[in-house]
């Protein structure tokens, strides 16, 4: 028998109709996550054909992209960026109600960013296929699931049939060899990997992350790593489930209980890559050599160690990126002044991310004039952070503590930088104008973002993390 990879096993389990020369496979979807931005047109398509949601019980909605992170005013009105944003939220509410889909609405204590709440509820589980009209759906692969982003037309397909048409992607294994140095985390691993293979290095592949440094990551860290798969062009990234995974999932709302739990864990243990399994491509990253990373360009693969400098631009594309970013080659990163810091997003807004940032902020203050936003990924993260007093640490340090949501990662809810500002951000994309017109984005870990907020310059977090 041919040795199988985790990806092979996940794929095979979900084939309803195998692919043929003239048609892709019909692949069954176990969990369909929806949010307000990429679902309205799919529901319209359903209505036009008189169709209903086939499996509302496998569909879960949340509100995150267009929602304000500032509280309601005295009249109870939320400060939406535009009337359209409000209409979009209301549309999802209406669609979910009409089709009997569970919605984590505003005010629901379980609401949050789609890729934070799925796992938090235990809806994300090993062995599942998970899709969402959102490219960062790869996040859920951290649990040993096959999870990938889809477009709105496909959202409609899944709503109507619980299936998508897919051809099996090629497979790639990225092995992080060795142990991470202190002060280096999953975000740095992701940026180092993308810098190594390029923003299109994973295109057409499903990635499995393996190796000692990956095994050593917490679930939060694994989610950060899988989240960034798409920034290397791969629609999905995954980590084989293990004790860390099972321990994390046990007792969550949607997790199996009692005997069903034991049976599930026994099954999940089989979701590993067998010795000798074939991968179309193998990549090895030297984990022990990774430093805290920052980006200097306008694509996530333009990343380098924070304690170094940006490389000299050698092509027209690199020159134009350097001109936009005003980060020139040969200049230490520490020379670059920072206007704003954003800690949040589906990449880095979980409790351990906030703890990491709080460690740096504790007893310190953000640089005079600098704006720092800390946006928890969910209501649950917010409550847990507040119970630990992390909110006080952020507020005392001069940062703003906001309501959960995508916020400045996609910057469509009104949270954004001003033209020309340099933002150190724990999000996932440093594209031109992503965080506001003319805004210059530097991607980094929560610790690096916090250290940069303190110094008002791009800063190495390690001195803050080692000091007791």
């Amino acid at each position: 028998m041919t040795a199988k990879s985790l990806f092979d096993k996940l794929w095979e389990r979900h084939v309803v109709v195998p692919e043929a020369e003239d048609s892709p496979a019909v692949l069954y979807i176990d969990l369909h996550l929806i949010h307000e931005v990429t679902s309205p047109q799919a529901f319209t398509a359903l209505a036009e054909r008189g169709l209903k949601v086939r499996r509302p019980d496998l569909t879960l909605g949340t509100l995150d992209h267009s929602t304000p992170t500032l509280p309601a005013n005295a009249k109870g009105e939320l400060p939406y960026a535009t009337p359209e944003a409000k209409a979009q939220v209301e549309q999802l509410r209406k669609n979910c109600e009409e089709h009997g889909v569970m919605l984590l609405d505003l005010g629901d204590p379980r609401r949050g960013i789609v890729h934070v709440v799925g796992p938090e509820l235990g809806a994300t589980q090993p062995g599942k296929t998970i899709v969402c009209g959102d490219s960062h759906t790869s996040t859920h692969g951290a649990f040993g699931a096959l999870a990938f982003g889809i477009g709105t037309t496909e959202v409609g397909h899944v709503l109507a049939t619980q299936c998508v048409l897919q051809r099996k992607p090629k497979s790639m294994r990225v092995t992080f060899e060795g142990k991470l140095q202190p002060g280096v985390g999953a975000k740095d691993m992701a940026l180092a990997m993308i810098a190594q293979i390029g923003a299109d290095g994973g295109q057409g592949y499903a990635i499995e992350f393996a190796g000692e440094a990956v095994r050593g990551l917490s679930m939060d860290g694994r989610m950060t790593l899988c989240n960034m798969s798409i920034e290397a062009g791969a629609r999905s990234g995954m980590v084989a489930p293990d004790e860390t995974t099972f321990e994390w999932l046990k007792g969550r709302d949607f997790s199996p209980k009692g005997e069903a739990w034991d049976a599930a864990v026994a099954d999940w243990r089989s979701l590993t890559t067998e010795e000798g399994a074939h991968f179309d491509k193998e990549v090895v990253v030297d984990a022990a050599a990774i430093h805290p990373m920052v980006t200097y360009g306008v694509s996530p693969d333009a990343a380098a160690p924070v304690d170094g400098e940006a490389p000299m631009a050698s092509t027209e594309v690199e020159r134009s990126a350097a001109e936009y970013m005003r980060i020139n080659g040969g200049k230490p990163f520490h020379d670059t002044a920072v206007d704003r810091v954003f800690i949040g997003s589906c990449t880095n807004s979980r409790l351990s991310d906030l703890r990491e940032a709080a460690k740096v902020f504790a007893g310190r203050h953000v640089k005079n004039g600098l704006i720092a936003l800390v946006v928890p990924g969910s209501e649950a993260v917010r409550r847990a952070a507040e119970e630990e007093g992390l909110d006080r640490i952020f507020i005392d340090a001069g940062a703003e503590w906001r309501e959960p949501g995508c916020s400045m990662c996609i910057a469509m809810n009104g949270d954004q930088g001003a033209p020309g500002e340099l933002v150190v951000s724990t999000s996932n994309r440093n594209f031109v104008g992503r965080q506001g017109k003319g805004v210059r984005t530097v991607l980094a870990s929560p610790a690096t973002a916090a250290a940069s907020a303190i110094e008002g310059r791009i800063a190495d977090p390690r001195p803050y993390l080692s000091a007791v």
């Binding site: 309803v16 109709v17 020369e21 003239d22 048609s23 892709p24 019909v26 069954y28 931005v37 990429t38 309205p40 047109q41 319209t44 398509a45 054909r49 960026a81 535009t82 359209e84 209409a87 979009q88 549309q91 009209g133 959102d134 490219s135 982003g149 889809i150 477009g151 709105t152 037309t153 496909e154 409609g156 397909h157 109507a160 049939t161 619980q162 299936c163 048409l165 051809r167 992607p169 923003a199 299109d200 295109q203 057409g204 798409i230 062009g233 629609r235 306008v298 694509s299 594309v317 134009s320 996609i410 910057a411 469509m412 033209p419 994309r429 594209f431 031109v432 104008g433 992503r434 017109k437």
Partner: protein, 194 residues
């Protein structure tokens, strides 16, 4: 589905030579608060066409270009990377584009484009280089034969489009109908797993 069936396309090109043109460039996120898929052409490449104050940029490559005669976008590699927003192909189609040519087009964008009458064409590096260095070239795209040719340049190349998506574009096969025809298999799958 409300796009025209793909026939032979003959049009001039607009060239955007940059690598990694992401979907935030194709349509900035602030235009995503719509609940409709219509009328997004005005938002296509908005920040490339207008400055931060909303004034048309003098330097924009789109200035003075007639979308009716320039229906083919030629772009640098990894075009359409980033978010899964289907608003990107909706905007390009509504702007007037019917095909995008690059050496390598991002997966989700490619999948979305194919569902909306916008043909993503991946060509070999040499053809790509030629097209990048000949903006405004008159190009013929034959999807049936999977052939792209430059008029007057004697240049032609083959390309591959996923077989099912190609049928959908050429023959108007409806992908949702195709899945729904498998309802028995879907039911059997659900029952076997229950």
């Amino acid at each position: 589905m409300s796009f025209e069936p793909f026939e032979i396309l003959r049009s001039r090109t607009i060239v955007l030579p940059q690598k990694n043109i992401d979907t935030d460039q194709i349509i900035p996120a602030r235009f995503l608060t719509t609940t409709s898929r219509k009328g997004l052409g005005k938002a296509a490449f908005y920040d490339w066409r207008y400055d931060v104050d909303g004034r048309p940029r003098n330097s924009s490559i789109f200035n003075g270009v007639d979308p009716d005669t320039h229906r083919i976008l030629v772009a640098g590699s990894n075009f359409g990377c980033g978010s899964s927003r289907e608003h990107a192909p909706w905007a390009l189609y509504d702007f007037g584009f019917r095909a995008v040519i690059s050496s390598d087009i991002a997966d989700i964008f490619k999948s979305n484009a194919l569902k909306n009458g916008l043909l993503p064409i991946e060509v070999d590096d040499e053809t790509h280089e030629y097209l990048l260095s000949h903006p405004g070239a008159e190009v013929v795209v034959d999807l049936e034969k999977e052939l792209v040719g430059v008029l007057g340049g004697g240049k032609s190349a083959t390309f591959k489009v996923e077989a099912f998506a190609r049928r959908c574009l050429l023959d108007g096969v409806d992908p949702l109908g195709h899945i729904m025809n498998q309802t028995d298999a879907i039911k059997a799958y659900e029952e076997a797993r229950a």
